[in-house]
């Protein structure tokens, strides 16, 4: 596809294209550090209350749909792999391969959110949604304090799903830009950055899955 011998030129504030690449990547690392601190704050809160009400939290945790989320974990990790391929082919400027693997990654994201929706719906019919009027009829140990657990569950998975939505929107935008192929170098740069974001979402999910679903089994 890249027929003309185009050379990647940096923005005017940079001396070289390498400098621009490094700056963009470093900026994204700093941004991800802020993300770690946002999620880290919630994990800290969760840990405090887990220590205050260990039995209540353990039992509430066993009411979550861990099997469903095991499928989701597999889906998300597969999406991580396809995104790695996107990155690989972006480096080599292979448009068709980028499009296919981007589509696969987008699909994995949509599948993840669909299963998440099914899980949330199940939570609602089971009465595990404390903040919706009439949505809470949990009959396990100490339902009052178990509300805290479920609130943390929705906070963590909800914030994660919100990140997924943003990432999927970015991937769709990337797909369109790759389809057009007007600025292949800009597409490549964007893929690197969005890929880092996507990987972060994968990693955070592993922490969420372990902390909420598995640790008390």
């Amino acid at each position: 596809m890249p027929t003309t011998a185009a050379v990647e030129t940096p923005y005017e504030q940079f001396a070289t294209i390498e400098q621009q690449h490094e700056a963009a990547r470093l900026g994204m690392w700093f941004f991800l550090a802020t993300e770690v601190l946002i999620f880290g704050g919630i994990f800290t809160d969760f840990t405090v209350y887990h220590m205050l009400y260990p039995k209540v939290f353990a039992e509430a945790s066993r009411h979550l749909a861990w099997q469903l989320e095991a499928y989701n974990t597999v889906i998300l990790l597969t999406g991580g792999a396809t995104m790695a391929f996107v990155d690989y082919y972006a480096e080599r400027q292979k448009r068709a391969a980028i499009l296919w693997f981007l589509a696969a990654t987008i699909l994995s994201g949509i599948a993840f959110l669909t299963l998440k929706g099914i899980e949330y719906h199940g939570d609602y019919t089971d009465g595990k949604v404390p903040f919706i009027p009439g949505g809470y009829s949990y009959a396990g140990l100490d339902p009052q304090h178990a509300k805290l657990f479920f609130n943390f569950y929705f906070l963590l998975t909800g914030l994660h799903a919100f990140h997924m939505l943003i990432a999927i929107a970015l991937l769709v935008l990337l797909w369109v830009r790759t389809w057009r192929w007007r600025q292949p170098f800009a597409v490549k740069r964007m893929i690197i950055i969005v890929g880092m974001f996507w990987a972060f979402i994968d990693v955070v999910w592993l922490f969420i899955y372990n902390t909420l679903y598995l640790i008390n089994r």
């Binding site: 504030q13 400098q19 700056a23 900026g27 946002i38 800290t44 405090v48 009052q144």
Partner: protein, 536 residues
């Protein structure tokens, strides 16, 4: 906004005899300012907006001092609560935190490291729009009748009891938090990746080191603030219970999370001031700064230890006494790098040929007042003393010595020091020296009595007080009037100088630093030819 822009541009159109090819002449209309990606112009956008919020915060402070003129309080209790809350929110988040980093930092950082721009110019402009958007929420809060939970939003007051516009105010602070995160990321990357060839880490000006430490704190602490504000909003909207004892939540956990951000945030506010002092003092002592590496590393040490002292705000809560002891020790440790800086500045003055130009008077005010503020901080870091002094006017006096006496003095000092570079004009020197002295006197008149009030036991956040405290309170309010004059004077003569000030030479102070090698004002991409980085 537009008036200042117009005034600058009008001036430039008719002036001649100095660098014509400069960033102020790159465009004239309002659009050329609001859509600019030039870091120097964005600095001006911030300067104008933070001045606006400073005025809002100052009006609120005036209301507070007016109320406290009489023991029974001249305002009603709820108006008083709203006045001090607005004062805190406007001053901390919309003035102090962006003050030096977003104005002087924006203007100088790329120039000082020999770069053409910041790493992400569009993101830089976006940060300003986020700031403005957050600011609109604060103004909306005022229109909706204000907020009465202080700048700290303590639970359960903010979540269960307050009927004021908490969510709107918290949203404003939430948004402005992202503005500082993005500015922090931008500047960190700029310092890491955009340095001119030959500009090694230990050739960086100390202002840049201070900015680096500041931005590190901004990037690592602000997300936690965003999170707690989100939790407060969720608590009020849907009652998630994280801070609600009825559900088993713990209101004190809020204080831990809040101060995990807000104590480091204190260093966001004061570190840049230290950076400014480290530039001004050597320039007017006409000497190389003493102990460059000590000043540089002490900035990083402050940023690091600043993260480990938040518990000293919680000595009188349910926090365990062992945790308190640890936090007390850490708070003493964080004073060490600050003291190192003070010693270095003083050693720089020793045997220097000192000239007392206005920036130097501000810088010396900064050192003196910061020292008093810092040492009284040690009183508060002492467990037993804090039990007596906690939540009294002693605390108010302590942090105003650091935030106002320290940071605002440094900000004004820096503004005067770099004014010739930013505008191409000199400010009127006599007026500036006079204003600096008025500010110093007014500040001490306002806040020194508050140390005495605190020692005598007057609690903070009350709209009334026993009649015994009246004379000191009247003294403090009178001082606030002098302080107000000290602020209005620079506002007036700096605006005047935009049109009538003498033209500045490229290096009016004969100071070191790349910013003095370029023209005043600098060209769009900062340098006409590659700057020379001295071998030392």
């Amino acid at each position: 906004m537009s008036t200042i822009a117009d005034s600058i541009t009008d001036t430039l159109k008719e002036s001649a005899g100095y660098s014509q090819d400069n960033y102020l002449r790159a465009g004239y209309g309002l659009r050329s300012w609001l859509l600019t990606v030039d870091h120097k112009r964005i600095a001006w956008l911030y300067l104008v907006s933070i001045t606006g919020f400073f005025i809002i915060g100052a009006i609120a402070a005036a209301l507070v001092r007016y109320d406290l003129l009489a023991p029974q309080g001249l305002l009603d209790a709820s108006t008083y609560n709203r006045a001090f809350s607005l004062h805190g929110i406007a001053m901390v988040w919309f003035y102090l935190i962006p003050s030096i980093p977003a104005t002087l930092g924006n203007f100088l950082l790329p120039i000082m490291i020999g770069a053409r721009e910041v790493a992400f110019p569009r993101l830089n402009l976006f940060s300003w729009y986020l700031y403005t958007c957050g600011g609109i929420f604060v103004i909306l809060t005022v229109i909706l009748g204000g907020v009465d939970v202080g700048w700290t939003f303590y639970t359960p007051l903010s979540t269960l009891f307050s009927n004021s516009a908490v969510i709107v105010a918290a949203t404003g602070v939430f948004i402005v938090g992202f503005s500082s995160i993005l500015t922090g990321i931008n500047f960190m990357v700029t310092i890491h990746k955009m340095r001119a060839p030959g500009m090694t880490w230990f050739k960086l000006p100390l202002f840049v080191w201070a900015m680096y430490a500041t931005n590190l704190v901004m990037v690592l602490a602000t997300p936690v603030l965003s999170l707690v504000l989100l939790l407060i909003a969720l608590e009020r909207l849907i009652g998630i219970g994280v801070f609600d004892p009825k559900l088993g939540g713990d209101p004190v956990l809020y204080q831990h999370l809040f101060w995990f951000y807000s104590h480091p945030a204190v260093y966001i506010m004061v570190l840049p001031g230290m950076g400014v002092a480290s530039e001004i003092i050597p320039a007017f002592a006409h000497k190389k700064v003493f102990g460059y590496k000590f000043i540089a590393f002490s900035a990083l040490a402050i940023a690091f230890f600043g993260f480990l002292v938040w518990g000293h705000h919680l000595f009188v809560t349910t926090q365990s006494v062992y945790a308190s002891m640890l936090f007390s020790v850490m708070s003493f440790i964080v004073a060490v790098p600050s003291a190192i800086k003070v010693f270095n500045w003083t050693a720089t003055l020793y045997k220097g040929s000192i000239t007392y130009d206005a920036p130097m008077i501000y810088a010396l005010s900064f050192v003196g007042l910061f020292t008093i503020g810092g040492l009284t901080g040690l009183f508060l870091a002492t467990l037993s003393a804090d039990i007596v002094l906690h939540a009294t006017y002693f605390v108010i006096a302590h942090f105003h010595y650091i935030m106002v006496g320290g940071t605002v003095s440094a900000f004004l000092g820096g503004l005067h020091f770099w004014w010739p570079k930013m505008t191409g004009r000199m400010y009127p020197e006599i007026w500036a020296r006079f204003a600096a002295l008025v500010l110093f006197i007014g500040f001490n008149l306002t806040f020194f009595p508050q140390f005495l009030l605190g020692l005598a036991g007057m609690p903070r956040r009350y709209f009334s007080y026993p009649p015994d405290f009246q004379s000191l309170n009247v003294l403090s309010s009178a001082g606030a009037v002098v302080l107000g004059v000290g602020y209005l004077l620079p506002l007036a003569y700096l605006l005047w100088s935009l049109r009538y000030g003498k033209h500045a030479t490229d290096n009016p102070w004969e100071a070191e630093g790349l910013e003095w090698q370029t023209t005043s004002p600098p060209p769009v991409h900062n340098f006409h030819q590659l700057p020379v980085i001295k071998e030392t």
